[in-house]
């Protein structure tokens, strides 16, 4: 009691002192003269030149790791479209010299605005310790620094984590490099296409197949908790929504409904799956609580309502419906009330996905024989088409909501062969990249950041 009072008195005194000092300082700083005010309203859009030095290693083995880590970081940053890693050949200061404070002048000369340095060390216990520092070349200071101790086998992950840190420190936004993509790997002729569930790191490495292709699988979706994937599988020609636990390999049917279930998607907390269910010729949207298995119907309309996706705050669901004549996007409250149409453009809209940062909804649009991947704000404004093609579909958001992945099918060649590839594109629409996969790929689903 007594103590508390004393503490608060002291605190008050401290505050008083601070505010006095602050006031005095401010008064001194305030310049007496009139100031020239200049508005800067124009800039340019170009990737930030950044130098990623090989990480220092004392032994050849460590040097190799240090080199590889730097390569992965630079590749991540480059693919984001926001950074332009500078050719290492231009570097003046070498990794060993960089262990101390950089000679910033050496880096300014080559136009680097930021510099990443670090070291890799294999410890006696067999683990790998990777340190990195991010430097502001013009400000001549350290922006951030971390060290990680890991089993050497996961060095790529460490590199992705470092790239995320650099990205976050320089853009103010979360990164997305330490994440994975699950997708449908396709092979075989068009009429007997084999489809397998596959997973890989966001940059295409550490690729592996999750199913053997004996059953048709579609629409994989990551749980926000990362451990689980839902997808649609046709077993004995019956499509059902399955849940696959990546840790245990366990798989289960998500409820056995009388009709067909499809288009499953997790709620942001991972506890609910929202999906559509076709019964007696009518398709409606339902949710299922994964813990209680309780099923709730959200839509009641004779039209087809499908492709639901939650907003990140779980308060709303976007879906598509042909209730207005053509297939358009609608937003409703999570309990099914307050349905509002948000898309009004020509053509048909499908597969809406709410961005994890909440500000946009991505979708597929078909109009005039062309497919588009587009985005719009949740109220329907600001609609833009980011990518287009003969067939582009299945947008999925990177965990930070800055980048989308989707797939693109090229028109069949003379022999009827069709190629389907995964791509990423950022929100500016200017940075489209192919994601290399061992065989054809479709229906990507981006994981959240690995926790």
């Amino acid at each position: 009691m007594m103590k508390n009072r004393l503490t608060s008195t002291r605190l008050f005194a401290l505050l008083a002192i601070i505010s006095t000092i602050t006031a005095v300082t401010m008064a001194q700083v305030q310049p007496a003269r009139a100031q020239l005010n200049v508005d800067i309203t124009q800039g340019f859009v170009e990737p930030l030149p950044i130098a990623v030095s090989d990480f220092y290693g004392a032994t050849p083995e460590e040097q190799l790791i240090g080199h590889d880590v730097a390569e992965v970081i630079a590749a991540d940053l480059e693919r984001s479209g926001l950074f332009r890693p500078i050719d290492k050949g231009a570097f003046i200061q070498d990794p060993a010299a960089l262990r101390n404070v950089p000679r910033f002048g050496d880096w300014r000369v080559i136009n680097a605005q930021a510099l990443v340095s670090g070291s890799a060390e294999l410890q006696a216990d067999g683990r790998l310790r990777v340190e990195f520092r991010l430097w502001d070349v013009f400000g001549e200071g350290q922006l951030t620094a971390f060290a990680y101790t890991v089993p050497p086998s996961i060095w790529r992950r460490v590199a992705h984590i470092i790239a995320d840190n650099v990205y976050k420190r320089l853009t103010g936004e979360e990164g997305y490099f330490d994440s994975r993509i699950v997708y449908i790997a396709e092979s075989g002729p068009q009429n007997r296409r084999q489809k397998r569930l596959a997973i890989m790191d966001q940059d295409g490495f550490n690729h592996q197949f999750l199913t053997d292709g004996s059953n048709l699988v579609l629409t994989p979706r990551f749980s926000p908790s990362l451990q689980e994937i839902t997808y649609l599988a046709y077993v004995n020609r019956v499509p059902r929504v399955y849940l696959l636990n990546l840790n245990t390999g366990q798989q289960e049917v998500l409820g056995d409904f009388p009709g067909m279930t499809f288009a499953p998607r997790f709620s942001p907390d991972g506890n609910t799956v929202v999906m559509s269910l076709a019964q007696q010729g009518n398709t409606e949207i339902y949710t299922m609580d994964l813990r209680t298995r309780q099923v709730t119907r959200l839509t009641r309309h004779p039209a087809i309502d499908t492709s639901p996706s939650y907003s990140p705050d779980s308060r709303q669901v976007v879906f598509n419906s042909d209730r207005g004549g053509s297939q358009q996007l609608y937003v409703m409250n999570a309990d099914g009330s307050g349905v509002q149409r948000i898309s009004f453009n020509k053509g048909r809209y499908a597969t809406p996905v709410w961005s994890p940062r909440g500000d946009l909804i991505a979708f597929t649009r078909m109009s005039g024989g062309t497919f588009y991947i587009g985005v719009m704000r949740p109220d329907g404004s600001g609609e833009r088409m980011l990518a287009e093609g003969f067939l582009v579909e299945g947008p999925t958001w990177a965990p930070n909501g800055r980048v989308l992945s989707f797939y693109r099918q090229m028109p069949a060649d003379a022999r009827g062969k069709q190629v389907t590839k995964l791509f990423t594109i950022d929100l500016t629409g200017f940075n489209e990249r192919e994601v290399a996969t061992p065989i054809d790929g479709s229906d990507p689903a981006w994981s959240p950041l690995i926790q």
């Binding site: 020239l36 059902r240 840790n247």
Partner: protein, 323 residues
Amino acid sequence: MRNGTIFSILFHAVVIAALAVGLPTFVSPLPPITNVPVELVTLAELEAATEKQPDPEPEPVAKEEAPEPEPEKEETPPPPDPKPAPAPEPEPTPEPEPEPEPEPEPEPEPEPEPEPEPEPTPEPEPEPEPEPEPEPEPEPTPEPEEEAKPIAPKPRPKPKIKLAEQETPKEEKPEEPPADALTSILRNVEKLKKQPAQKAQTATAPKVAEQTRPKQQVSRIAQEGIARAIRQQIQRCWRLDPGAQQAEDLVVEIRITLRRDGTLVSAEVVNLTRMFGDAYFRSAAENARRAIQACSPYKLPVSEYEVWRVINLKFDPREMFGT
């Protein structure tokens, strides 16, 4: 009690000293580093330690060949495969380490909360280091290439797919004024062809907005000339990130002080509080400051030095974003 008092006195002394004297500049060559043991765990460990999975039974055996228990009875090896799949997995281990974010420590790294605590910011402290740019030499502005290019909405990587169709013009969008405006820097493949006119317009009208104090002796015209010169120089160095969240709201004010030779003495972000509370604002502010630093030295008429010795710069991306 007594300890508390002593501690409190010491703490106050430190805080007051910090406030009065300025934040300590650390002498050690390298700022401290945050150590993050990323204990990535093998699958086995992970399962042992994991209980957070909703699934009742971890079923260590089953996973060996249970990937698809019933939809597909095949002996699919992939998913269960212990090594690869789990490897990238998160570490549910109770350790506090997983992501690097947690303890920022030395730098104001992850968005520092508005603590009054002094932090050894590597940022441009006005006093401690009088000149961030020790070399006043007229180093050519670091980005020669930039100067060549038009300032505005220059898309970077070439849009590979843009030509796909010509039908676009016909497509009338009922309501999308914002989209149109945004297309200058945010691409809309459907509208590409219409761009040029708009672009040009955006690029040409820099819009003068500097206020001058009437009492200044220098004529308004001279001031405007100087403002224009500064604006032109800085705009060549200001790199924008159009995809940033609410990029159009990130207006940054920075007060700069220049030497007679046009080199930079200091560049202070006016809204310091927001620097510490808002990571987006901080990177926007730092980005603007980098532009200022990269552009130094400034070429301005020495005869009017008193006019441009201290300048308030307002970086306002709204026009470029069309809002």
